[in-house]
Symmetry: C2
Subunit: 304 residues, 2 copies
């Protein structure tokens, strides 16, 4: 089952030719979930062959333009393409006001599909779940209300060993019982569940933290995450800018990865003042070796 993110935009507020504003797609079990939607997201989706027609759920961290101005074009394009499936938007309630107001750039009554809004809570809460995963929103520290998102695979069932199915000619009911963790009897002989199954793969997780100042309050929530995406707008030499604007340095991001015991760190949301964000990568690696730079189009597979 695939579980991966694709970077669509890795710049901070000012876009560049090579780095669009923030947007990412998390794909889990073939279903893409859009996280933030900066200007030009629909163009990046085409450029990088993302399955943008399959997106049903959009998660918006906060309402600075570089994280949602691409929604207007994307939602319009869905309409032009005659979409009928609803779009579910998880965002601050202010976004519903913007999109549904009388003077909205999107004329709701002309849309070929329904827009459903789910307002993000102030505290840490599961805001979405389906068979594949849960999504938890949690507060970040920024100039306006901002939430991070934790995507976590659900606990999966044990795998019945194929060879055992044929060896004991297991019935469908027996297979279902085994998958549910039960023990079964075959011709009067009791088997342990573990005799006939392999353990379920561990649950993978991905945390998205942007935009935010350094914030240890979220460590419990993202503890042991497989992949942490954390903004790293500034170098340590610009720490006063980071503090002033409620952003993080590359070191901040790395300390967060270390303290939350993340397996891997991807940093992004780079200020355009750095022509080459390798300086940020090096600063982060000093503290957390398994760090990577977000680059537009790049896919990070989330490993077990």
């Amino acid at each position: 089952m695939n579980f991966e993110i694709q970077i669509l935009g890795s710049s901070s507020a000012l876009p560049t030719i090579n780095r669009f504003p923030t947007a990412q797609i998390l794909t889990a079990n073939e279903q893409p979930y859009l996280i933030d939607c900066g200007e030009g997201t629909q163009i990046q989706m085409r450029r990088f062959n993302a399955k943008f027609g399959k997106i049903k759920h959009i998660f918006i961290s906060h309402l600075h333009g570089d994280h949602y101005f691409g929604l207007f074009g994307l939602l319009s394009t869905y309409n032009l393409l005659g979409r009928t499936e609803p779009v579910n938007i998880f965002a601050d309630k202010e976004l519903e006001n913007i999109l549904m107001s009388e003077n909205s750039p999107i004329k709701y009554e002309e849309l070929s599909y329904k827009l459903n809004f789910f307002h993000l809570p102030d505290d840490t809460q599961i805001i979405f779940e389906n068979k594949t995963l849960t999504v938890t929103a949690f507060p970040l520290k920024h100039r306006i209300k901002t939430r991070g998102f934790l995507f976590k695979e659900k606990k999966r069932q044990v795998n019945v060993i194929k060879e055992k199915i044929s060896e004991y000619n297991l019935s469908i009911q027996q297979i279902l019982d085994l998958k549910a963790g039960k023990e079964i009897e075959i011709s009067g002989k009791k088997f342990l569940n573990t005799d006939l199954t392999n353990p379920a793969p561990p649950q993978r997780s991905f945390a998205f933290c942007s935009d935010t100042a350094f914030n240890e309050d979220i460590i419990e929530t993202i503890k042991n995450v497989n992949l942490l995406y954390h903004e790293a707008t500034f170098s340590k030499s610009d720490v006063s800018n980071a503090e002033k604007t409620f952003h993080s340095t590359a070191e901040d991001a790395a300390i967060m990865a270390k303290k939350s015991n993340a397996k891997k760190l991807v940093i992004g949301h780079f200020s355009t003042r750095y022509n080459n964000p390798t300086i940020l990568l090096n600063e982060a690696k000093e503290i957390f070796q398994n760090t990577f730079l977000a680059n537009d189009g790049e896919i990070f597979k989330i490993e077990f």
Copy 2:
């Protein structure tokens, strides 16, 4: 004095990797004027090294998203860069409602500069003029209120011939009189103005017509234009689509160029159904030979 347009977006409503939605910059006498502002316009400006900080005046043809959704990002970027010079927006009054509403994506009270709105009239009128040019707005035929724009250089003064200045040791007052078209006396001898001057260069003009169905009503307005940009969304084989959506075929655009005695035609706003718009170019050239395809980044110098 330069007088040229640069294409920033040449696609119709659905953008592609190589063709962003509609936006163009007309530059006259070093001053850039933005015409339409589809999603990603600020990114295209960076890509093609347009002087986007120098833009003072923005002309929006109509309020379909592919012609103005880039305004949100552009106006935000001006704010982030600390712009203080006002931005003048010429558009349907509905755009002021969108941008200035309580639920606008742009928080006006946070902007570092002033936004001035000039509502486009329903009939054909000069809507802007300065020392360099006049801009005339005129109604096009589309599904919603849409205006074309005619940019016309002002009549310039005659040029005093340099050699004559030294030959007759002309005073500043004499030079000013000559530039104003007067005749002068030198040592009691009368000179014709044309004895000492070269005629002023002719006035160049550029007309922007997008989006629109075929519309002969505008021919008088754009008569003898040096460069006509006319939308050509469809091929003649899709004429029923053109009629249904109030767009033009490439042939329509070419007939407009011919009937208005344009010197040159640039077509754009291509439907994404044509992988290669050369088919549209060929259809137009059958009727109007001096036709060119708009391509993102391309500059068309407007000749005398």
